[in-house]
């Protein structure tokens, strides 16, 4: 029991960063029907930007918490600008082309970001770690009276889970209760009609990309601190987050979060209960389980069946 609880905590902690990335996939898909394959690399850029800001702010002697706040803020800002630029420069000129053109452009942007990050002048292929003081502060174990003895919960697990849940709630609020959200839903419902009704679709799409990229930045900083920063870290995590978004039902906000958490937990539980020599192949097993879920429920956990009118 104690082991199971521990594994579930680990799974939730991993899953919460999948959820943050998945939210970006789901938002962009909802509005543009585009799978933004560059999104995983935006997450990587978030980690890289955070690494530089964190090292620099601690270097000039700012306090730990101030530096951490600046790290998150700076990284979110960087990625939001990057998200805006990607959409403005790469996708917008192709808006009226076939969907496939956009998809291939997305793969191109993804490769561009990965290779730029591998340039030694920008970051280089060698993994780097955030400053030790940040890592230490966040990996401190919390004393939780309600957890059984022997189960550890770090500051980090709590922070990443709280952040992703709060951001999901905030996002739902923005989409459901604000004017921008209303416009966003209108664009998502019917692009041309929304435009005819006076919605500035260009602005709404830019907003979607910036918001999604900001969330990816948060995930990037979290994983950067927890593990390390590598220029290709976005490939596997981006793929998993994409799977999480599909699993939750792509286009659905709670779906992305639940999908991320379910994927994180599946992965961890597979590692936890597979015969031990095979734990290295856990990813494959986790993906097979997800395929099975999708076979039973093709629209994902929260997806709705929409009949297309011809």
């Amino acid at each position: 029991m104690q082991v199971l609880i521990q594994q579930l905590i680990i799974g939730l902690s991993i899953g919460s960063t999948y959820a943050l990335i998945a939210l970006g996939y789901t938002m962009v898909y909802g509005v543009l029907r585009l799978i933004n394959f560059a999104h995983g690399d935006v997450y990587m850029v978030g980690a890289v930007a955070g690494y530089y800001i964190s090292t620099w702010t601690l270097g000039i002697g700012l306090s730990l918490w101030l530096s951490l706040t600046l790290t998150f803020a700076g990284s979110i800002l960087t990625c939001a600008i990057l998200g805006f630029l990607i959409e403005y420069l790469a996708y917008r000129p192709l808006r009226n082309r076939p969907r496939l053109v956009l998809l291939i452009t997305a793969i191109g942007v993804s490769l561009l970001l990965e290779n730029l990050a591998q340039l030694p002048k920008l970051f280089g292929p060698t993994p780097r770690t955030y400053p030790d003081s940040v890592k230490h502060a966040l990996s401190a174990t919390l004393n939780c009276p309600f957890l059984p003895a022997g189960v550890t919960l770090t500051q980090f697990d709590l922070l990443s889970l709280t952040l992703s849940l709060l951001l999901m709630i905030y996002m739902t609020y923005v989409v459901m209760k604000t004017r921008t959200g209303l416009a966003l839903r209108a664009v998502s419902h019917r692009f041309d009609t929304a435009s005819l009704m006076g919605v500035n679709t260009g602005r709404i799409i830019s907003f979607t990309f910036m918001f999604g990229s900001g969330l990816a930045a948060v995930a990037g900083v979290l994983d950067g601190i927890r593990y390390d920063v590598r220029p290709l870290m976005g490939i596997m995590f981006g793929l998993k987050a994409f799977v999480a978004a599909v699993l939750g039902g792509i286009g659905s906000i709670p779906g992305a979060v639940v999908g991320g958490l379910v994927l994180g937990m599946t992965e961890t539980l597979v590692k936890a209960y597979l015969p031990s020599q095979y734990t290295g192949y856990a990813d494959a097993v986790a993906f097979v389980i997800l395929i099975l879920i999708l076979l039973i429920k093709p629209t994902g956990l929260f997806g709705r069946n929409i009949t297309e009118k011809v």
Partner: protein, 384 residues
């Protein structure tokens, strides 16, 4: 009918091409240095996940080249070292070696540290008949690629056995293993450790992960549940750093131990999480042997830091190669190959080195303990 004829001609023609291509492949006789310089190739992970392996090895090799050239070179010619970065990637290692052979016409090649990359690039060297000397790839399969592939270090059957004997000596009755299943070095070392440890205690847990994984907590939680006396983790230092941090976060306090893949300045920088851990290595810089102390002093003077074992094996491998060229009398690949195979009691900085009939070096192994960012030699074992 005409079409049939044409088809027949084309088939025979392409078959002929194929055959001539095959013939070309088998006729790899290597290269010969004809100019005033002897071109030597080096490929290594100067960047990427295992960057300190390549950088340290390169520093050691460069030091050997500088010293040799300052002393008049080899056979009256200067050594020209050409270095290619493989970014810690296997496919890049293969193309790096191809570049060295085809573009730079090197007569011999030094590299790699990682067995997986040595295995891949070794196939290319063997095909072209260029002798390749790996400074520190320990997987036994590396030199089994062919008669052109040599190494200047011990192999993992010996290293795994020493690890197992050490565990028995420490009275660790319950051992957990954590292996990278995508890494030839890690898999091989774990296999030989298991063989050596048989009958000495219980293997309570045998976990694995994949190269590129960054979260090991699920496996570590399982390991924690089996309550081992120590954990054997035969991986590379980048993974070891993540593994140790996560293990300590989960409250696993027992020592971890591993192989020469741990050897990196980064491991020593990990701080308290690595205190009290052990690993088997090629040498210790505290060895009082004058030849080694001279190397350590020269290295410090040039790079302003202590050499790690990768730097020392890099230096020794380069010196061994230059010695072989001298003994060969000609800077051509096949003579160098023969001279390398006939190496007997070469005075390496870490002691006399002999190449056995399987093209492996017979060298002693040391066990090091890490304490407060320093390596403390525990014992040194000579192969029987």
């Amino acid at each position: 009918m005409r079409h049939l004829l044409l088809a027949g001609v084309l088939t025979i023609g392409s078959l002929g091409l194929l055959l001539s291509g095959c013939k070309d492949k088998n006729s790899g006789h290597g290269a010969e240095a004809t100019g005033s310089e002897i071109p030597i190739g080096e490929y290594g992970s100067m960047t990427g996940d295992t960057a300190t392996f390549g950088q340290s090895t390169h520093n050691g090799i460069q030091l050997a080249v500088d010293q040799t050239n300052a002393a008049g070179g080899v056979l009256g010619k200067q050594i020209k070292l050409i270095t290619e970065d493989d970014q810690s990637k296997t496919d890049e290692a293969v193309s790096a070696v191809q570049k060295l052979i085809n573009r730079d016409k090197v007569v011999a090649i030094l590299g790699e540290v990682a067995s997986k990359r040595s295995l891949a690039a070794g196939g290319v060297c063997q095909k072209y008949g260029i002798p390749m000397l790996s400074p520190s790839s320990t997987n036994p399969a590396v030199t089994q690629v062919g008669d052109c592939i040599f190494r200047a270090c011990f192999t993992d059957d010996f290293q795994g056995l020493v690890g197992a004997q050490f565990a028995a000596k420490r009275n660790w009755k319950k051992i957990a293993i954590l292996t990278d299943v995508n890494n030839d070095y890690s898999k091989g070392l774990a296999k030989f450790f298991r063989q050596g440890y048989e009958g000495k205690g219980d293997l309570v847990s045998d976990e694995s992960y994949r190269e590129g994984d960054r979260d090991f907590k699920a496996q570590l939680t399982r390991i924690k549940g089996t309550n081992p006396d120590a954990v054997y983790a035969p991986g590379y230092y980048t993974d070891i750093g993540l593994i140790l941090r996560q293990a300590r976060e989960l409250g696993i306090t027992v020592p971890f131990f591993g192989g020469d893949g741990w050897d990196s300045p980064d491991t020593l920088k990990l701080g308290s999480v690595v205190d009290g851990c052990f690993y088997t290595n090629h040498c210790s810089i505290d060895d009082p042997r004058p030849s080694l102390q001279k190397l350590v002093a020269d290295y410090r003077a040039k790079y302003n830091t202590d050499p790690d074992a990768m730097a020392i094996t890099g230096y020794d491998a380069a010196m061994l190669l230059f010695d072989a060229i001298k003994r060969a009398g000609h800077a051509n690949s096949s003579d160098i190959k023969t001279a390398l195979a006939n190496t007997k009691d070469f005075p390496a900085s870490t002691g006399p080195m002999t190449i056995d009939p399987n093209r492996n070096a017979l060298k002693p192994i040391v066990i090091l303990e890490i304490e407060h960012g320093k390596q403390i030699p525990v014992e040194s074992i000579t192969p029987q």
